[in-house]
Symmetry: C2
Subunit: 212 residues, 2 copies
DNA sequence: TAGATTGTTAATCGATTAACAATC
DNA sequence: TAGATTGTTAATCGATTAACAATC
């Protein structure tokens, strides 16, 4: 298959997992792996692994396996992690600030080029060498930053309006940390990071455990 | 159906969403809603909503709908969010500290009762009124804290070993922020918060958009 | 009562996994 | 060549959605 039709989201998520795993393998100087080995080490079914890759072409050699470095760079290219991408952070509270300082982002070529907040106390201050800008000037400032990805780290009550400003400022993808369902225009991608939800799920599972 | 067999994870995740939505409704002094109304406002299919609830019993009145306050409190009880739960945070870096200060946790009755780190510089210091303890003393200290939920906010290379210490200290549920697949013993629940993965997915979707 | 909406069964859809011919 | 492992098709599994009798 040459050009990917619709790739399932779970496949894309696993692709990111494979990539991390391959980077570890490379660090351990392993240069070839089989899908069976992937299953043993990640717990992801071998057929699943092969199927996931099949959406994007052929990556392995029958009887041999996959070249670690090659597979790594091809997955990185598929996910666009082989090139720098500009990201802005909306909200300079505890969470927003922590994200600005998170080294993993840069490692994956997500470069934070701007941080915005509404509070006059924060505007003009710096976090990790990036100056906080007035969120009211988002559109104007992003006209030059040209970030297409924004991380929303404002309180729930402000999130919807911030999302709209972002879309208006040319942002096409929102990573939303606020516990709220965002309504966005066609063509804007949203992914939610809902750790409260995750805690709630665990909370239920924990209780189940006790009941039996 | 009286006692729930196996409830799908997506159902549990949506339950947490419904709960947030119902709290908003209550604040707007709305006391009854129909599944159709839920669909309009959250985008979640009405049949899905009814099916999700059906795993736990009967909640509505045919021809009328659901009582907001009652549904809210019943979902809270299902998810165990109606009572306080002790949580410890492992790792007092930027992310860990931000989580300790995150007000949403307390609002959902997740009370942070301890913060742990390995760095001698941090041990003994306070973040938001909680003193940072030595992670080497986790088992000893959690013997009295009795937290069964831990949030892992340490760097990837330390996460596996921290997870093992936590399990050894009696923790039964791990909310993992480190970009790594944790291997845990039977009976320990893990949920991952992988915003790097979410960014990667968005990055792919963004590129797709351009190609067409 | 007539209209609205539930809870649940059945149909549909999509994702995961098993099986295997092709191939190194 | 014989053994190993891929890529892909087919079978299975599970979740979502539509349809509708029961009921307020």
């Amino acid at each position: 298959m040459n050009i990917s039709p619709k790739v399932p989201i779970p496949t894309l998520e696993r692709l990111a997992t494979y990539l991390r795993y391959l980077i570890d393998l490379e660090a351990s100087s392993i240069d070839t792996i089989s899908s069976t080995e992937v299953e043993k080490q990640t717990g992801i079914n071998a057929a699943q692994f092969r199927k996931d890759l099949s959406y994007f072409g052929e990556f392995g050699k029958p009887g041999v396996g996959y070249n670690v470095v090659e597979l790594q760079s091809r997955i990185a290219r598929i996910l666009q992690i082989d090139r720098d991408q500009s990201v802005i952070v909306l909200g300079a509270g505890n969470l927003g600030s922590a994200l600005v300082g998170y080294p993993g982002l840069g490692e994956q070529h997500f470069n934070i080029v701007g941080v915005f907040d509404q509070s006059p106390k924060k505007i003009g201050q710096k976090i990790f060498h990036i100056e906080i800008s007035d969120i009211a000037r988002l559109k104007e400032i992003n006209a030059s930053l040209q970030a297409r990805i924004a991380i929303i780290a404002v309180p729930a009550h402000a999130a919807q309006s911030v999302a709209e400003s972002a879309a208006d400022a040319g942002v096409r993808a929102l990573l939303n940390f606020a516990p709220i369902i965002l309504k966005v225009a066609e063509g804007v991608v949203v992914r939610n990071v809902s750790f409260l939800q995750e805690l709630a799920v665990m909370s239920y599972q924990l209780a189940l455990d006790i009941r039996r």
